[in-house]
Symmetry: C2
Subunit: 397 residues, 2 copies
């Protein structure tokens, strides 16, 4: 039977998902991949999951297996209060919503806020998962200029003063894909601007716990609590497979997020929320996090020094103090598609940066490089290979 | 700040959720509630969860904690192939999509299929969770006439021949809220009709495993595989808190369900999917299910005989062979709102049936009675109380 005409218009208007195809290709056996964006399995607290599971069943019994309220398992929300306080966010358990990964907040926010053709302001490049969550609600994108320190405040003020924007979406710390971090002064300035124009900001903060150097920075929410939906996750510091995300939002917004989440999955897994509650309240995160940092820090340093050694001098790249990604940019003469294909032929993968732009065109000479999934020696070899492929390409340009 | 004007139009058009408020009220301590619709905690295989968890960690290690493909954890999809075969559905693992509860399928189906003001045909009364999942996509409802054997095929054929319908949603077995089950002949006839009009049916089948008497019936999908999105869940036979649902859909539809689910939660909890895979493939469901049936069967029988004893003769009710609900209907003179409030005053709760109609008006004299959450003695006492409250009300009518 003919299915296409059975689909809603929004579905027929959805584009393809290039990254997903890339990640399938690079999953081939033998491939050395800097393309992924996921935590290293050796970063998971596998050894204590059994202990956490026993504690959950002893402490909560069948309550951990039963339906629960959409807002989230209360002991987890209580534990998140303290977790958030360390990030400079002071809230009660009633102000927190637990979701199925931070993706769940992004979908719910898109659903309650975005009308078709509403304008959503995003950094360019930006996190693709957010674009994917918003896509069914069919926004138009206002792409905001960025530099080495992330979003340029003047860019957002100019955009907001020119045309109405439904919401702003930012990853202020160790951004995916660039690894860039907004300095404090820009956070304060952006908070002032969204308050001035009375626009909502979705502040996505999955990486700030993964800081290898420098000082922790307060979230933008701290300077505009009434205008920010603050989104975070335990996927990078506990286990992504458990799908535990959470958000803090203004009460009137949170109540709608709860309402639409109920229609999507009723609630996030009670059992996994109880595991997360034990992980946080039992002090396991505090004990386990240093191990994650000492796993990733040398990998990032290995990539940065390999880039110095092997990449041509007309390439530049970000030097983030944490997170999972480095963003490299070459001269206009660099043909990244050819470089990508030649690298694949040599069993080495990355993601061409152009795919992270909401509107195609820019970023033709950019690359996203992930360093969490490979050890230092492998990273050095992969960057050396990429350097060779790049030089060949530039020589033929 | 003023939030309302920040919301999308679809959000401002969403109605309130009466049932949710009712369930909050009846959660009061001391309340004897026949209002809920959830499994008894003593039906959960609590004693083997620890064993399943150990097996998952031994068999899959970090893979059970890592990100996974949106389609679902492969060992679970393999186990579901056999589970579905017992229901008369023959598919491969590649045709199955695992979701975060069956609610996840309903949201995804609404998202890919429903345009604003598209007509969705449903039984009246119907499952409220489906209406809640579809609500953000703003359908109009075509309410199909039902009788003691569920949907009347002529009603759907007449509806489809009159105006275009985007999809049909049915719970053919032990329906929520009525407990009614479509006989085989009607299943075959409805399959013929949806094929004839080339319309998609969402066949929601959460309860068919909970059969206390009679013969299992094949799903409608068996007679129209290319026109049915078959939806089911492990919530009633394993643990609802784990949020494991699944569906089988025509390939062109399934690929879109996968696509939009990726934007909603990336994938359903790997760890919980692995637990479910062990539960099914280890034969635990087959060993555990008889215990669930022997828990619920006497509760249902207690309610049916109490209704005979205590309810006035001008009340009638469904006599389902399984599931979780009985549907009672009184004479027009019965004022169910007053009966509901007087019952609450006597610490006894149920859900007035009128709330299960997509369009308000009908069902004013109906009641949904759940029998899975209370023991036989409590059920007998509750129905006696309701009988007394009803007689008082009818006497004053």
């Amino acid at each position: 039977m003919q299915m296409e005409n059975m689909l809603a218009e929004r579905t027929r208007r959805m584009g393809t998902n290039a990254i997903r195809e890339i990640l399938k290709v690079v999953a081939r056996p033998g491939m050395v991949s800097l393309a992924g964006g996921i935590p290293a399995p050796e970063s998971f607290p596998l050894d204590i999951i059994r202990e956490l599971s026993d504690r959950v069943l002893a402490a909560h019994g069948t309550a951990a297996l039963q339906y629960d309220v959409t807002e989230g398992f209360f002991p987890l929300r209580q534990a998140l209060v303290e977790h958030l306080e360390k990030k400079g966010i002071q809230v009660t358990a009633d102000e927190i919503l637990v979701t199925s990964g931070s993706q769940g907040v992004l979908d719910a926010a898109g659903k309650i806020l975005i009308n078709r053709n509403d304008r959503v302001a995003v950094e360019a490049p930006t996190y693709l998962g957010a674009l994917q969550a918003f896509a069914p609600y069919e926004p138009q994108y206002a792409c905001l200029a960025t530099d080495g320190e992330g979003l340029i405040p003047e860019a957002i003020e100019e955009e907001l003063s020119r045309r109405p924007v439904r919401l702003v979406y930012l990853v202020p710390t160790f951004q995916n894909p660039t690894g860039r971090t907004l300095p404090l002064a820009r956070r304060v300035e952006i908070a002032r601007i969204i308050r001035k124009f009375n626009v909502l900001l979705v502040e996505d903060d999955p990486y700030s716990d993964l800081r290898y150097r420098g000082e922790h920075l307060p979230p933008i929410r701290k300077f505009a609590p009434e205008h920010v939906i603050y989104v975070s996750t335990l996927s990078k510091v506990f286990a992504p497979g458990l799908r535990i995300g959470f958000c803090v939002a203004p009460p009137a917004i949170r109540s709608w997020l709860v309402r639409v989440k109920q229609g999507v999955d009723l609630h996030t897994s009670s059992f996994n929320q109880a595991l997360a509650a034990e992980y946080l309240s039992g002090g396991h995160l505090d004990r386990h996090l240093p191990g994650i940092l000492s796993l990733y820090k040398p990998r990032q340093e290995a990539m940065l020094s390999a880039l110095e050694r092997y990449f041509p001098t007309d390439f530049s790249w970000s030097r983030p103090e944490g997170g999972m990604f480095i963003w490299a940019e070459g001269p206009e003469t660099a043909d990244i598609d050819t470089i990508y294909n030649n690298a694949l032929a040599r069993q080495t993968a990355f993601v061409p940066g152009k795919y992270f732009y909401p509107v195609p065109g820019p970023g033709q000479a950019t690359m996203r490089l992930n360093y969490t999934m490979a050890d230092e020696a492998t990273i050095d070899r992969a960057i050396r290979t990429l350097g060779e492929v790049i030089r060949e390409n530039l020589a033929n340009a």
